[in-house]
């Protein structure tokens, strides 16, 4: 029993000193960062723009009426 008491007494010594711990601001800052929508990275933005242009080109190119209009406009310009 005394041996056990001594162990408890020794471990209790650890309660005497402890460093101050303050992480409130750090935690809030990290949570703010997580909550904020992240802007797209530059290469991703460029890729998205290029993809949109290709899609728009395909869409316009596949429209027969629009093709005819462009052809007649071109012919008029040549004449």
């Amino acid at each position: 029993l005394r041996r056990d008491e001594r162990v408890h007494h020794r471990l209790a010594l650890l309660r005497i000193s402890e460093p101050p711990i303050d992480v409130v601001d750090r935690v809030q800052e990290r949570l703010d960062r997580v909550a904020r929508p992240r802007p797209l990275l530059k290469p991703a933005r460029v890729a998205l723009l290029a993809l949109s242009l290709v899609a728009a080109g395909l869409l316009v190119g596949s429209n027969a009426a629009f093709r005819r209009k462009v052809r007649s406009l071109g012919a008029r310009l040549v004449v």
């Binding site: 711990i21 935690v27 809030q28």
Partner: protein, 185 residues
Amino acid sequence: VADDQADAVLVERAQRGDRAAFAALVERYQQPLGSYLWRLTRDRELALDLTQDTFLRAYRAVAATSPGLLVRPWLYRIATNLAYDEFRRRRRFKRVVVGALEPPPGQDESVAVEEREVVHRALARLRPTDRAVLLLCAVEQLSYREVGVITGSSPEAVRKQFTRAKERFRLAYAEVVPKSLSQAS
């Protein structure tokens, strides 16, 4: 009981996305959790990082917790698991840093300071699981039931593990204690 009720209210509010309620939980538990992690790791910077990560993980998990959650053991469980992960990652099992002796302000206190350092050295020789159980039961003074929630064991298993850990600590202490101190105590 009042503390548990206050915790339950804060958790309920945090589940609804109330950041102020979660900040109140951080305010309340940062010192005990941080001190526990510091005693477990003996590294203040690491203890600060692990304390922060404990709360970030808790924030992500709080929405999925059920009513009647025991907040204190829940947070200690997250903290303990993060510390174990860190020990595994850094292979710190046998490389726990033991800080230098603090300057003794007086004769009587110097004995206590020296003895405390010996206690830290003895703890550093134990496995992290033994160290955690000793700290949780004897220093943090959590109940066997609470420690059981943290370690995933029954209260009876915790009691047995605590008894074994105390014996290992006693042997480790006998190995590291200087003669001057063993004569003094």
